[in-house]
């Protein structure tokens, strides 16, 4: 479960302070598939960055599985992200010098899993997203859709408590987007908690809950 309490985030440029999140209270239960939607600049990505511990809120609290992340040091947060969270970025964010399987192996190795086991798990993860024929290809040798699937494989290989996805279909054609969303719905069906930021209604509707955000505030929550 993840919960935010009066979450605020402002950006300061010189003497000008721009509030982006203006006090967000949100609760997402384990196993939910939540889409955060809103117009450009509404604060949806900023909210996701706070919840996924990639950024520091200006004030407020984020509690994940009962742990108040506000009290964690940067090193503890990195370890927490490694163990409990998974990320799918808009632009795939694969490491260009690593093959698909090595990209997936890397966080597993960091988790202390032995080398042989990491390659086994990474292989299974890539099979799950349909990349069994591309294990040893570099990101530059994969299409956009394949890269995003590799990115999902990396995000789920260590079985995270929460999977965050930031506009995962924004750079993809329709067919690839549908493939990606199919993977997400399958993962959700298997019990994976997913928090996805999107501006595409068609894909947002695949989630069981839509959190609508505007001007840094939640303006509505729609349940399936």
């Amino acid at each position: 479960m993840i919960e935010t309490k009066n979450l605020k985030r402002s950006f300061i440029d010189g003497e000008v302070e721009t509030p982006v999140l203006k006090g967000v209270d949100l609760k997402i239960e384990t196993g939910e598939f939540v889409a955060i939607m809103g117009r450009s600049g509404a604060g949806k990505s900023t909210l996701m960055y706070q919840m996924s511990l990639l950024d520091e809120p200006s004030s407020g609290e984020i509690i994940i599985d009962g742990q108040n992340t506000h009290l964690m040091s940067p090193v503890q947060k990195t370890k927490f992200r490694l163990e409990k969270l998974g990320y799918v970025f808009q632009d795939y964010a694969l490491i260009p010098e690593l093959t698909a399987v090595e990209n997936v192996v890397l966080p597993l190795l960091m988790n202390g899993v032995n080398k042989k086991e990491t390659y086994k798990i990474a292989g299974e993860s890539l099979v799950k997203v349909g990349l069994e024929k591309h294990l040893h290809q570099l990101p530059s040798q994969l299409s956009g859709g394949e890269q995003q699937r590799a990115s999902i494989a990396r995000a789920i290989a260590h079985q995270p408590n929460i999977l965050f996805a930031d506009e995962p279909t924004a750079n993809l054609d329709n067919e690839s987007s549908r493939t990606i969303m199919k993977i997400f719905t399958d993962l959700h069906r298997d019990g994976q908690t997913i928090i996805m930021v999107t501006h595409e209604e068609e894909y947002g509707r695949l989630a069981e809950k839509i959190v609508r955000i505007d001007d840094g505030r939640i303006i509505g929550i729609e349940k399936d």
Partner: protein
């Protein structure tokens, strides 16, 4: 340990899959830096070492027995020579008679009373031409004319610095003979004895002592000076290959030669200023090398900084997915280490397999010495360690600067 494992995992792949030309460029910089560290100082020291070696090879040889300061010759020289003949570690030796004298050329020309005679002061050495050639290879330095033969009578070899043609400086205080060549007759004066002799050859060497001498056969000099006791002034001794000169020197001293003569190895006989010059040039070499080291560090810093800054987004992603900053920093340390080590290894191969043998076989022709490359392995390894340490720091600092930046800012490319 986990951080090292991840660091190595990332570094190996970054090196393997980065542009070949980038790797070649960085390694080339490291090789050149290594050569700058080792070769520049090695040549500077080698320049003097070449001169020292030349003195050893062509003048003192491995051991030199000379006249004590309070004597005019080595007393009982035949007994000393008998000891040398019995010493199995000696390959050959050359006994020399020495005398101070003057030489004069063009003395048959009519001169005004105000004209200065064409004279020069010279040390005159009476040698056994064959023995001298075996010990010092003197015949190799004939630049004009021919070498002495044992039976030569009234024939001399003249050192190049006693001729204006070969004297490198033009100074009124440095007298030399003009218009002379092999076949020219000159007047040799030893004390109150004067004899007309013919120049048989001119000798030019990188050893000044040779360039300033007149050589004639020992029998000739003995007859000129009236020395019938066979007491010589100097004995140069060449040892068999691999023999330590110190042990032979000690053995000769043990046999009582030191009672009548100074027994020195070539190193003992080196003037202190030569040792000081070697130290000075080594220091200069180290200073130049230090600048090279700083330049290399800056180069690696820039290369790694550019690499890290262009990969800032990926560094952010690595941190984002939970890879520790330390592991990322270590990956850059491994990369720097790889470049420094590879550069150094190629540098070592270049120095010891190519440059050193090449320069030894074909010394650099400096005006006063045949310069060689002096690169003792221990000193080379120390410089290699310095280079690696400097490179690691130069790689670590920019990596740390980028890794410490905010993770999200790195991912999004925000400043």
């Amino acid at each position: 340990m986990l951080n090292y494992r991840i660091g190595l995992f990332l570094a190996k792949r970054q090196i393997r899959r980065s542009s070949l030309w980038t790797n070649v460029l960085i390694i080339s910089v490291m090789v050149l830096t290594f050569l700058n560290l080792v070769v520049v100082s090695g040549i500077l020291v080698g320049l003097i070492q070449g001169a020292v070696d030349a003195v050893r090879l062509h003048y003192t040889s491995d051991i030199i027995i000379s006249v004590p300061n309070n004597k005019t010759y080595i007393e009982n020289s035949p007994a000393v020579i008998a000891v040398l003949n019995q010493e199995p570690r000696i390959q050959s030796f050359s006994a020399r008679y020495l005398s101070g004298g003057t030489i004069e050329a063009n003395y048959k020309e009519q001169r005004k009373d105000t004209d200065k005679a064409n004279t020069a002061s010279a040390g005159v050495a009476g040698i056994d031409p064959q023995a001298e050639d075996r010990v010092t290879g003197l015949s190799k330095f004939i630049v004009e004319g021919d070498y002495l033969a044992p039976g030569d009578y009234d024939q001399v070899l003249i050192g190049a610095y006693l001729t204006k043609k070969y004297l490198p400086i033009d100074s009124p205080g440095f007298a030399a003979l003009d218009n002379i060549a092999p076949g020219t007759k000159i007047r040799l004066t030893l004390g109150n004895i004067q004899r007309e002799v013919t120049i048989k050859g001119i000798i030019k060497s990188k050893v000044d002592e040779i360039n300033m001498r007149v050589f004639m056969t020992d029998a000739q000099l003995r007859s000129l000076t009236g020395r019938s006791d066979y007491n010589v002034n100097e004995i140069a001794i060449r040892l068999k290959p691999g023999v330590d000169p110190n042990t032979v020197r000690d053995a000769l001293i043990g046999q009582g030669i030191s009672r009548v003569a100074k027994v020195q190895t070539y190193a003992d006989a080196e003037p202190k200023f030569i040792k000081d010059m070697i130290d000075t040039f080594a220091l200069l070499g180290n200073l130049i090398s230090s600048i090279g080291l700083v330049v290399a560090s800056i180069t690696i810093f820039i290369v790694i900084f550019i690499n890290a800054i262009t990969r800032r987004k990926f560094i952010g992603i690595l941190k984002g997915i939970g890879i520790s900053g330390e592991a990322i920093e270590i990956s850059y340390i491994f990369q720097s280490f790889f470049y420094a080590l590879t550069g150094s290894i190629i540098g070592i191969i270049t120095v010891y397999a190519v440059l050193e043998p090449l320069i030894t076989a074909h010394p650099i022709n400096f005006p006063f010495s045949d310069g060689i490359l002096v690169a003792p392995l221990l000193s080379t390894l120390m410089r290699m360690s310095l280079l690696i340490i400097a490179t690691i720091f130069a790689g670590y600092i920019p990596a740390r600067m980028i890794v410490r930046k905010n993770t999200l800012d790195s991912i999004l490319g925000r400043n």
